[in-house]
């Protein structure tokens, strides 16, 4: 149920850490007009802010209400529904702090450890699983002032960078020298290196460069007691980095990392194929990966998702999609949007209608392939891929669909606001499994979601032993309370279906709070091992409480 007491408070302030020294707000005056949930803790919060400012410098600790609201959440769609309902910040933190180096992070951590104050590491806040949801009274530690690219070793092909750097900025710096990290999540403009590492992120070119955990060579982090740990495969054991990477800020705060890089590719090559069925398309991808081919991108869209992709071709030029809606264009739903929102309230009918059509009637399942390699390797793989795709029953669509995909590759994340504006909700779920379990899992999740939301999917990260499925679903309800109820029911059903079909809950978005209830269902006693690990690295349990391993109360 949405807490009405906090309704209708909204803020549109954009956070600029550098501006804090001059951003003074009269807290007592503002508090008098705020809902109770957003009011500051008065003297207690101010004392906390003063203490932290003494550790990191004046102007880099804030109890500003706008800051506390902005840092109270990430982009978990459940938060977005809440915001639409007027819940700007269900449990705002007490204070936000912006350290500039590992020593300051350690000082803040020791302070929090000694006083048992919860502390939530924060990158760019673009996670979609509720990885950031500070408990009331928590310290939010924003890493974005640690954003230097310290060194690029051109001989050994590694980069040393601080964790708070925005992904695109890191890629730009590498690009200036003729290199690439090869990590291109659709959030690249609004996510940080530290966030990628904390969540085991995957980029769109993972088939060529691997996921972020495949790139990291060493890292520095500060654990929950304030100890600085420099982790290196050779020096500290190869077991430790994989324990910190993916821990979602529950074990330590990552402050910098050394990552493998690649020279910018000589060429990009493109190919696209259509298959009558999703099954045939998957067989082609599997054959390629198991034959040792490594296309940077291999994305197979199920027939309906393919139809949407083809329709987009006629809607807009690629540049228009990349740029998103014009800045001053209001997100007002038109008649078509209202009709769509209405249709989404009966998703079972929509899903049954689509499912009842044979794949070819929708145009078939579309596969886009992109290579980033030396010319000789790329050309040889393109020829071999063509042989395998044709063998699997594919029909060549030429380069254009793959080129169009590349041009629009980051746009999808910026296209969801209109759906929320029309009263609907949209979310995605990325899961993974071995090849033999993949299609059964696809069908099981589809069935589980269908009563609640309209669902489509694509397969976007492939390996010799399996692949990831990326479900996109949309729903609507009569009001926001009903929307939340439907949203939660859809997720519960889908998570159970994934685990029961033998899959893993997340391929690259992480767990946060959205998937934590199903963790024990998948992980079993491994959860206890992670808890034991947390007791070693964060003995007072102050780091990002509630994320990843949850509290077990809402276990599925």
């Amino acid at each position: 149920m949405i807490a009405r007491s906090a309704k209708r408070y909204r803020t549109a302030r954009t956070i600029e850490p550098e501006a804090h020294a001059s951003a003074v707000i009269d807290l007592p005056a503002m508090d008098s007009v705020l809902p109770e949930a957003l009011r500051s803790g008065g003297a207690a919060h101010e004392a906390l802010r003063r203490d932290l400012a003494a550790l990191v410098g004046d102007g880099r600790a804030s109890t500003d209400t706008a800051d506390r609201v902005a840092y109270a959440k990430d982009l978990w769609p459940r938060h977005v529904i809440g915001v639409r309902a007027g819940i700007a910040a269900p449990a705002p933190p007490a204070v936000i702090v912006w350290p500039e180096n590992v020593a300051e992070v350690a000082a803040v951590m020791r302070y929090a450890h000694e006083r048992e104050v919860p502390i939530v590491p924060y990158g760019a806040g673009s996670g979609v699983c509720g990885g950031v949801l500070p408990t009331r009274g928590a310290i939010v530690l924003d890493t974005k002032r640690m954003r230097a690219v310290r060194a690029i070793d051109e001989a050994q092909l590694v980069v040393d960078a601080e964790a708070g750097i925005i992904g695109q900025h890191l890629e730009d710096r590498l690009g200036e020298r003729g290199f690439t990290l090869g990590h291109f999540p659709s959030s690249i403009y609004c996510s940080t290196l530290g966030g990628w590492l904390a969540g085991r992120s995957a980029g769109q070119c993972s088939g060529r460069y691997g996921k972020i955990e495949d790139m990291v060579q060493s890292l520095t982090c500060v654990d929950g007691s304030g100890e600085v740990r420099a982790l290196d495969v050779e020096a500290s054991g190869r077991d430790l980095i994989p324990l910190i990477v993916g821990s979602e800020g529950t074990l330590a705060v990552i402050t910098d990392a050394r990552l493998r890089i690649s020279p910018a590719p000589e060429v990009r090559r493109f190919a696209s194929y259509t298959f009558d069925t999703t099954e045939a398309g998957l067989a082609a991808i599997r054959a390629m990966l198991q034959a040792g081919l490594r296309p940077a991108v291999s994305r197979l869209y199920d027939p309906f998702d393919s139809l949407v992709a083809r329709r987009n071709k006629r809607l807009a030029a690629p540049s228009a999609v990349i740029d998103g809606p014009a800045p001053n264009k209001p997100l007002q739903p038109g008649l078509g949007a209202r009709v769509l929102a209405s249709a989404l309230r009966s998703p079972g009918v929509l899903n049954a209608l689509i499912d009842g059509l044979p794949g070819p009637a929708l145009g078939g399942a579309m596969l886009v392939l992109v290579w980033e390699d030396d010319v000789a390797i790329a050309d040889a793989e393109v020829r071999e891929a063509e042989r395998l795709c044709l063998e699997a029953g594919g029909r060549s669509e030429g380069e254009e669909p793959a080129r169009r995909w590349l041009a629009r590759r980051h746009s999808v994340s910026y296209r969801q606001s209109p759906m929320y504006a029309m009263g609907a909700f949209v979310d995605t779920m990325e899961v993974a499994s071995t090849w033999s379990r993949l299609l059964p899992m696809y069908h099981a999740v589809h069935r589980a979601l269908s009563p609640y939301v309209f669902v489509m999917a694509h397969f976007s990260h492939a390996y010799p032993d399996g692949a990831s499925i990326y479900f996109t679903f949309a729903g609507a309800a009569r009001d926001d309370d009903a929307a939340l109820e439907k949203y939660d029911a859809a997720w519960r059903a889908a998570l159970v279906a994934v685990v029961d079909a033998g899959g893993t809950l997340s391929h690259h978005h992480g767990v946060g709070r959205s998937k934590a209830p199903a963790m024990r269902r998948e992980q079993g006693v491994a959860i206890d091992m992670v808890r034991a690990l947390k007791a070693v690295l964060d003995p007072r349990g102050i780091l990002n409480p509630g994320a990843l391993i949850g509290d077990g109360r809402d276990a599925l």
Binding site: A291, E381, E384, A432, W435, Y463, S506, M529
Partner: protein, 348 residues
């Protein structure tokens, strides 16, 4: 059953027949004929993960420790030996995913033979038939190489008799380096009996983002947290391969060449660096696949190597050594082991 103080039992077990008898009796009561030996030479031949759990629980209750496959402890006073040779089935081969599910006691050579019959391989360099072939080539180039080749052949034969649990616990020596192909992986799932007797299962998945990756705590973990009783291993096709070797005047140049070969998109089956007497460093690269792919990869390898002063060796006979020393478990994993295994049954 009452728990005895750990230190006194470890030091006194040999001379304390009562304690040893009590431990042996408890084990026999739970595990029957799977328990062999007496007093300081107790041995448990586990048939199921449940047997391993029982052993661990009884050992903890009696203050004894367990010498596990691939672990740091050796049989002796107060240390029960765990054998997995009766827990050695190849449970299944998922041909579509190319994943073989094996029990911990299965011999590496047996698993490889099973896969070869299906046209697949684990690609473990230390088991590689080509390693033995190389002995012939090495022998042709002189006694120095011949001696090394003979040692490798013996090593390969021994490796085939190693069980999967030991091989993984010691770091899977000879497996493809992850950096050579970040998309590939060897171990996609595990079953481990932890020191407290619970069974931890990591289900097979190509990749995941569900918290810390626990697999490296066991693969290379020297069994300090638990014993691997099952593994899902990823195999690949047996296809033609080509080896090339370049020699460099300085190791840094060879290291840079390897980084750039990988960076340029070559996905070698294996790469090996070996610095010979003096500063000369050999870089061996093996590529596999259809001819066109191999030729394209080899062209890139040649270009990168020559740009860094590398000179090709004909025939490719440079030493092909693989790291045999794996970094020990980290301090954090050891702390975790202390937390999970306060009785210290699996720790040296």
């Amino acid at each position: 059953m009452r728990s005895e103080p750990l230190g006194s039992i470890h030091s006194g077990l040999l001379g304390d027949a009562t304690l040893a008898d009590r431990l042996g009796a408890a084990l026999r009561e739970a595990l029957g004929e799977r328990v062999r030996g007496e007093h300081d030479a107790l041995r448990v031949r586990a048939r199921t993960p449940g047997d391993v759990s029982s052993l661990f629980r009884i050992a903890a209750q009696h203050g004894a420790r367990v010498a596990a496959p691939g672990g740091e402890l050796t049989p002796g006073v107060g240390v029960v030996s765990l054998d997995l040779d009766a827990l050695a089935q190849i449970r299944s081969l998922d041909a579509e995913s190319r994943i073989v599910h094996v029990e911990g006691g299965a011999l590496l050579g047996g698993v490889e033979a099973h896969l070869r019959a299906a046209g697949l391989t684990l690609g473990v360099a230390t088991l590689d038939a080509a390693t033995l072939d190389a002995a012939t080539l090495d022998a042709a180039t002189g006694a120095r190489h011949a001696a090394r080749a003979e040692a490798r052949a013996i090593s390969a034969a021994a490796e085939a008799r190693v069980d999967v649990a030991s091989w993984l616990a010691r770091g899977a020596v000879g497996a493809r380096a992850h950096a050579d192909d970040p998309v590939d992986q060897l171990v996609c799932g595990l079953e481990v009996v932890l020191a407290d007797g619970t069974l931890l299962t990591i289900r097979p998945a190509p990749r995941r983002a569900v918290g810390p990756d626990l697999r490296p705590s066991f693969v290379g973990g020297r069994a300090c947290l638990g014993v691997i009783v099952g593994a899902h291993l990823v195999a690949r096709s047996v296809v033609p391969h080509t080896d090339v070797v370049y020699r460099f005047a300085a190791r840094a140049d060879a290291e840079s060449a390897r980084a750039w070969i990988r960076g340029r998109g070559v996905r070698p089956v294996s790469t090996a660096l070996n610095t010979d007497d003096g500063d000369v460093t050999y870089l061996q690269v093996r590529v596999e696949g259809r001819r066109a792919i191999r030729d394209a990869s080899l062209a890139t390898v040649a270009r990168v190597a020559l740009e860094r002063g590398g000179r090709i060796c004909e025939p490719p006979v440079a030493p092909r050594d693989h790291a045999s020393v794996i970094a020990p478990p980290s301090d954090v994993v050891r702390a975790l082991a202390r937390a999970l295994d306060p009785a210290g049954i699996l720790r040296a």
